[in-house]
Amino acid sequence: MMCDFLKTCCADPMKLIGEWFVILPAVILLLAAAASVVMRNLIHAALLLTLSFIALGVVFIALGAEFVGFVQLLVYVGAVAMVIVFAILLTKPDQLTKSRNMLSGFAPAAGVAVAFASLAALLGFIFSSPLAKKPLPATASAPVAAIGEALMGDYVIALIVLGILLTAALVGAAVIAMEDKP
């Protein structure tokens, strides 16, 4: 499989660049996520999470879903990552650089084992399924006008419910985190 991939890529350099446009950000995504979950320093973990969000956004753009990629960058990198960083700074663990890394007892090992088992099961299903062996279709485009029409047409109820949910979350988060006035 790898040899065919390399052969087709070297024959046509633009296709090579097109394929690598997805693989390279995906590799950065996995490396940044792996580094983020093992870091001791919370701020470094949050910044590596931001890098993995950026890489995921680039993967979305490379796969043709540009609107979703830009929304991912705008919402996750611009908002969620900043909220995580603010929460880290506001809760300020006593020693920011040396937080307790893992749970006590054998719980961390059990957690990693469960994650590994689920990964093995998922990979088994993925590589044994005939449905997943599809090659890449030529192009898939999602023009913004079509997304807008779908949002306001078939999916308008979901859009309105999302708006209500976000308003409730906004008000709720503000009320929860507000300091009690004396």
Partner: protein, 395 residues
Amino acid sequence: MISSLERVPIDLLHWFLGLVGSFGVPAWILAIVSALIIIGTIIGVFLGLFALTSVMERKILARVQNRYGPNRAGPFGLFQPIADGIKMITKEDLVPRTADWIVHLLAPVVMMVPALMVLAIIPYGRDMVPVELDAGILYFFAVGAGTEVAVFMAGWGSNNKYSVLGAMRAIAQMISYELPLVISAIVTAMIAGSLSPSAIVAAQGGGGFVPQWFILTPWGFTAGLIFYICALAESNRSPFDLPEGESELVAGHLTEYSGFKYATFFMAEYVGMFAICGMFVTLFLGGWQAPLPFLDIVPSWCWFFGKVCFVAFTMIWVRATLPRLRIDHLLAFAWKFLLPMSFAAFLSAACWHYAGRGPLAWILSLAIVGIPYLILGNAFTNRFAVSRRTYLFSE
């Protein structure tokens, strides 16, 4: 009546590509060369504008304050950027010993990259968009969100309580002002029917006696003014420069930066200012279009850069004129005034469109924008009214 100067940049590019192509290179190398030339030209133009603005700002501020600006370094002080550049490059690059040096080093890079990437979707002239994106406005705001990460990295990487505090204030300011900014941009996208900047510029064309620019409509004026104010806040410029004012937390998140890294932050801030001025011109001032049809003799890219320079001049003028806002005033202004006004502009634009864009529509949209303005304005000014002073410990 399009003059022959109009196509000069595009014709130059095609001539050069023809020259390179005559050596028999494959098509994909030509595409890369074309992209590199366009990127190089845009970066060159904007860095040149940055250099010119850094001295013009000081001179304009000085003239407003009844003094000369820098006038020693060349004729009228115009070689001052060269002197500043040499100073910045030769300064010692200090990194505090306990600082996180990776984060401290990467912060200027993460600040500069979005500021330059954002220049890719702005239409500089007729058919002169570097990248024609379907969702250009969304790209602009998505990439602009990277600036907030850079500000936090700068504040955190300095290992300095005041830097962290300054960074948190700067991020709070940027996030608060991003909402009215995006909503007022979406107002124009709604009327134009597309998120692509070229389509929004095209939707402002065709006026005869009076240009059909969006800023000349009630909702467009409100949305444009909100966009302008939020642009000032996003670039951390006065009157919203609390994060980096000298009399506040020293230089806020930039305290521990010296030499070339400081110059990079400075450059990123000015390039960001020009980028957002360019977006303001595209969305509200009609982009590269001339106001009246017979003025088409002047090339479209000249009109674009003229408008951008005018808007930048007004930003410098505002800096010279208005005092700085305090952090709680700043955040209250964003959340309690600008955000409801941007919703009012949104509603007003929708009513203007559906009432047929005739005289009735103009009156209706003016009312929908004007009444919240009067109510919110009154509510706002009464909060900060100076009350009678009460003495606690004396008679």
